[in-house]
């Protein structure tokens, strides 16, 4: 029997409507098993889905650590407990990212030997498997040991999830030479170069994020988050610029109609809502974080990714890769 995925019905800018709609589609179209975690009066009609009732909601702007401590009967905390207690295979939330991380960390706990869990965010590479950015925002301040673990966890994830046999690892810096970057980057470079178990490509730069020459891009959570949002902002800016040009007059609109057929599938691949969200790696359980602005499609994709991670045994593979004696 497959365990259901615990979905935070209260989290996200369009909760609960789009969240429930996404869950319904995941059940109907993908055959997944989903349990909605939320306040029944706020959920309203669950459209035939199972509901795990709770009484509290952590708001998008609540203080992460404090709210998880105070709101013990919140949908986020309860979803994490369902995973901890073996009643759900994974949790998914489009809610307060910090509180999602805190709930998952506090309730599921870390895998033995993991210093700090990290956020892995896939960045599409047209024509091949995505590259995965670790850490995309969980840890603003990192040590070299943490970055090496992020590299290991990212590598295991890419192997298990995308079937890449020997993922290549790039260290995000400001020049290809090992002498470039902060002291943290230089120290990490030396450690990764020594480590025989990973295929270290060397330093990569911001311009190597899309398309990327490597499967895993390693950086601290501050730089990773800035780079990811810069990338999203730039693509959004350029796309809206092209749309603006197409809307100029009847002639440009007609030209746009010709190009849309070819352009839209590419834009679709780049759209974060089709990526399935970001994964927390290093926990004793699966946690997928969807964009705050998630619509039903984004939620369905996040549920799909959670199910795929479960099926691929990502957590067990991470457990084997990060042995306690390395901590």
């Amino acid at each position: 029997m497959t365990l259901p995925i615990a979905l935070d019905a209260m989290g996200g800018d369009f909760a609960p409507g789009e969240i429930i709609a996404g869950a319904k589609r995941a059940v109907d179209e993908l055959g997944l098993s989903v349990i909605l975690v939320g306040v029944p009066e706020l959920i309203g009609d669950p459209h035939g889905l199972e509901v795990f009732a709770c009484s509290e909601v952590i708001a998008m702007d609540d203080d992460p650590a404090g709210s998880v401590r105070r709101k013990k009967d919140s949908s986020l905390v309860r979803a994490a407990e369902l995973v901890r207690d073996g009643k759900a295979s994974a949790m998914v939330s489009a809610g307060n990212t910090g509180a999602t991380m805190a709930s998952a960390l506090l309730r599921m706990g870390r895998l033995p030997g993991v210093v700090r869990p990290c956020i892995a965010t896939p960045i599409p590479n047209p024509g091949r498997t995505p590259s995965v950015l670790v850490d995309a925002g969980a840890n603003s301040e990192c040590t070299a040991e943490m970055l090496v673990q992020f590299a290991q966890m990212g590598s295991v994830f890419v192997q298990a999830h995308y079937g890449v046999e020997t993922p290549t690892i790039g260290l995000l810096s400001i020049g290809e030479e090992s002498s470039k970057g902060t002291s943290l980057v230089k120290e990490t470079h030396a450690l990764l170069a020594e480590l025989g178990s990973l295929k270290f490509h060397g330093n990569v730069e911001g311009r190597d994020l899309i398309p990327s020459p490597v499967d895993v891009v390693v950086t601290d959570g501050f730089t990773g988050n800035v780079a990811l949002k810069t990338l999203e902002g730039a693509l959004k800016f350029f796309f809206s610029t092209v749309l603006g040009v197409i809307g100029t007059n009847d002639e440009t609109k007609a030209a746009g109609n010709v190009l849309y057929e070819y352009l839209l599938p590419i834009v679709g691949k780049l759209n974060p809502e089709n990526q399935g969200g970001a994964m927390l790696l290093g926990l004793n359980g699966i946690c997928v974080i969807s964009h705050g602005s998630s619509n039903a499609t984004a939620i369905m994709n996040a549920l799909r990714v959670a199910a795929e991670m479960d099926k691929a045994g990502v957590v067990e593979k991470l457990r084997l890769a990060i042995r306690p004696d390395q901590s």
Copy 2:
């Protein structure tokens, strides 16, 4: 009498051909005065431009500090000396960025009170003046005091160069709240919020780089360089994607021809070669760093920016803004 701008004729991927061609255009089209600094045998025909002869060249991949120390008769070092000695109004180079910074810093020196000079890179904002990213790569590791000075210098530059009366300052972080980011960012946030002399907008994120809600984006040189290259890479990727789509077949090519008329002026504005390069702020003189891949147009624009900075009295305005008693 206007002093000439000292142009490193040896620096850049397309030196000396494109460098000299750019200088010639700056003289003919913009009426600027330019002196080529380089090895006469390598320069060949100077096309009527004045040449300051030297015997050495710092290569693109030379160690910056070491090469500046060893190659005392190099074009980069001599160009910086011409500014120091009051024989040139500014220096411009598309060569080794680190060596350009080192030459300028060692020969011109810092303005009194400046802890560390920074690189200011304009990022275009369609429809209004560019925002300026400081530090875009000079200092990988920074203190909060340095970041506050970058904000001050960026503000003075935007005021003098773009005529923005009260430039707004954004601090690059991973969330708008003052509690977000590294300890460096939080400390800098507190200092900027206290400082009455600057118009502090608060934190901005990677997605606020283009278009930007602020005139100056402040960050450490590591994060700034990663963000800038991410932006450049994303725009290049998206533009080449659109070009690929347009090249699909005759129908899409015809559609592309309709759109080019409107798209190309925008792309032109985004193109780094039209930006005029990056400026070193905080030195006792003007130094403009052009892209390594600069063609004649890029060099002409870098010379134009150097002349504008001279005319606007940016160095004197920086000197007044950064008083020694603040150091």
